[in-house]
Structure formats: structure tokens, C-alpha cells
């Protein structure tokens, strides 16, 4: 609870939230031990039993969450590594450009057209349909450019032109449509697309595990409150009579 409150506080110092998170974990363990001691092997009262079970589920979800917090980002980084070039550029975009160059070159060669160096489809940033953003490193920055809207890359991620992977109906999937050299780029593109799907999956796990933990926290608060009210209605008359 304290951790959630502190997360929302404006007055904080660097590292304070990390310390609160550690306290949050410690208090969860202590709380569970205290609840077990309080139950003392008596699980007759249904409200108390439910509250205890829900506290156990909450603590387990917290522990699994901590493990996921350590494992998932590593898995995400591994997938991102596959999708970015060594310079950190979009690997899908760069491979798409290479693939397009190979396909165009081979098609022209098939038709007997001699492609001179100047005519060859050398990819230029921003000039091809596979360009995702056209932004370049080191461009002068102006705050007016900053927008809270999704970036072009985010918007383009599902656009059909962005991923140059022919679907089943595409003419490029006919045998012999692609010449030697293209297959390897195509495979690389498919690998990258898979990596991006896995990245998204891992991110969903992180997000929805958190949602589950919060949901369990609310259920536990509700059940504990119910147990306290239920127990006090029984204990109250005993104390006063």
C-alpha cells in the first residue's frame, strides 16, 4: 500500500521508490507470516480463510512478478537485438531495402536490362516505400517537433508496406519468383518479424502480470475487510456480555 502511495507522491528523491519497493516485498512476507500465525491452523471461519488464501495468492503473484521483472526485460533485449542493426537502425527497414534491391536487380537482369551503377536501386533514406520514419541522426532538434502522438514508426508497425514479407497470395511466393540472394533476406525478415512478435508478447506479460497483482491486492483488501467486519460481529457481543 505504502509503495503504491509513494509511487503517486510528487515529492521524492532518486532511489526512494526502490527502497519503498524493497519494504513492500518485506512487509508482504511479514504480513503473510503474521496472518498464518493469526489463523493458527484454524480455517473454520470462511471469511478468514478466503482472506488468507487471497493474501497467499497476492504474495505468490508478487514473487512471480519479481522473477518476471528480471527475466522478461532480458528476453525483450534479446529480441530487440535481433531487430536492430549494429548501428541501432531498424533491421526490418534495412533488410527490406536490400531485398527490394536484389529483387529489382534480378528482375531487370532476367529481362536482359543492363543496370548501370547509377540506375541500380540503391536505397536512399526516405525515398523508398519501406522507409519508416525518414529521421536522421544528429538532426537539429527543435522542441516544436516533439509530439505526444505516436511516432511514425509506431504507426507504421502494422502497415502492410512496412514489412516487406510477401503474403501467401503474393506473386513473390511463386517458385522461382525470387532469385538467389533474396531468400536469405526474406528469411532474415521473417526472423525479425517473429522477434518483434515475441518482444510484444513479453511486454504484454510484464503489463498484465502487474494488472493481475493489483487486482489481487484489491480482492485481498476486500476479503480482509469482510473478515474484520464478520469477526467483529461475532466477537463484539462476547466482549460486552
Amino acid at each position: 500500500m505504502l509503495y503504491s502511495i509513494r509511487r503517486r507522491l510528487r515529492k521524492r528523491a532518486i532511489g526512494q521508490l526502490n527502497a519503498s519497493l524493497h519494504w513492500h516485498v518485506l512487509l508482504a512476507i511479514v504480513g503473510l507470516i503474521v496472518l498464518f500465525m493469526h489463523a493458527f491452523g484454524h480455517f473454520a471461519m470462511i471469511s478468514g480463510t478466503f482472506a488468507l488464501y487471497s493474501m497467499v495468492a497476492l504474495t505468490i503473484s508478487g514473487f512471480v512478478g519479481r522473477i518476471l521483472d528480471h527475466v522478461m526485460p532480458r528476453l525483450i533485449a534479446r529480441e530487440v537485438d535481433k531487430v536492430l542493426t549494429m548501428q541501432g537502425d531498424d533491421g526490418v527497414e534495412s533488410t527490406s531495402q536490400k531485398l527490394q534491391a536484389v529483387v529489382v536487380h534480378n528482375t531487370q537482369e532476367n529481362r536482359g536490362i543492363i543496370v548501370s551503377q547509377s540506375q541500380a536501386p540503391i536505397p536512399m533514406p526516405g525515398s523508398l516505400p519501406f522507409t519508416t520514419n525518414g529521421q536522421s541522426l544528429g538532426a537539429s532538434w527543435d522542441l516544436a517537433y516533439i509530439s505526444l502522438e505516436p511516432t511514425q514508426q509506431e504507426l507504421d508497425q502494422n502497415a502492410p508496406h512496412y514489412r516487406f514479407i510477401p503474403d501467401k497470395k503474393s506473386a513473390l511466393n511463386r517458385p522461382g519468383a525470387l532469385m538467389p540472394g533474396a531468400e536469405e533476406h526474406l528469411l532474415a525478415l521473417q526472423d525479425m518479424q517473429l522477434a518483434m512478435r515475441r518482444e510484444q508478447f513479453f511486454r504484454y506479460i510484464i503489463r498484465y502480470w502487474r494488472v493481475l497483482h493489483i487486482l489481487l491486492a484489491f480482492i485481498t483488501i476486500g476479503l480482509v475487510t469482510w473478515h474484520i467486519i464478520f469477526a467483529s460481529t461475532i466477537l463484539w457481543p462476547r466482549f460486552f456480555h
Partner: protein, 96 residues
């Protein structure tokens, strides 16, 4: 289902770093950061060059929870910047 933000490319990360006003809000909101790191050092080391031990430690402990995104007054994605450090660290560990 609302889509999650995927990673950003190095040029996009560079643009975001150029836009950073160094207000520290992202670091204050971060539950993974255990020690004080100057935002200038973090920004400088994010893109290129050597990565110091505290920055590497911070990058490795980043959960990619996204808590640093909402408080940023400029709308930047510190999680994506840290992801780029993670990838760089991974590559350097591999000797790439």
C-alpha cells in the same frame, strides 16, 4: 487490446536524448534505480561510448515497466532509451 510500445531505433533514441530537458522526473519515478545517477551522464552514455558501472547496473535492473514515461514533461520514452543501453551491454558482453 491496446498495443504496447515496442523498442525504438538508435536514431529515434538520439532524437529523444536531444529533446531531454534534464528535469529528472523519469529517474524520480523509477522503482529500479537504487543509486543517484546524473541525467547528463545517463544521456551521454546511452547512445555511444563507454558505459559506466552505475549506468550499466541501472540498465540491467530496468524492468521495462514504463513508469518513467508518464511523468516526462516532454513525452519522451526513458524505457526505450534504457532498452538501447541493455542491447549495447548485451552486445559488448558477447564481444560484438
Amino acid at each position: 487490446m491496446k498495443s504496447t510500445l515496442l523498442h525504438k531505433t538508435a536514431p529515434q533514441v538520439a532524437q529523444e536524448i536531444h529533446a531531454c530537458i534534464g528535469c529528472n522526473e523519469c529517474l524520480l519515478a523509477c522503482p529500479a534505480l537504487a543509486e543517484t545517477i546524473s541525467i547528463d551522464v545517463l544521456n551521454r552514455e546511452t547512445l555511444s561510448g563507454a558505459i559506466s558501472t552505475p549506468v550499466a547496473r541501472f540498465a540491467r535492473s530496468c524492468y521495462q515497466c514504463g513508469a518513467c514515461v508518464a511523468p516526462c514533461p516532454v513525452g519522451l520514452h526513458r524505457d526505450a532509451m534504457i532498452m538501447w543501453i541493455k542491447v549495447r551491454l548485451m552486445r559488448s558482453e558477447r564481444g560484438g
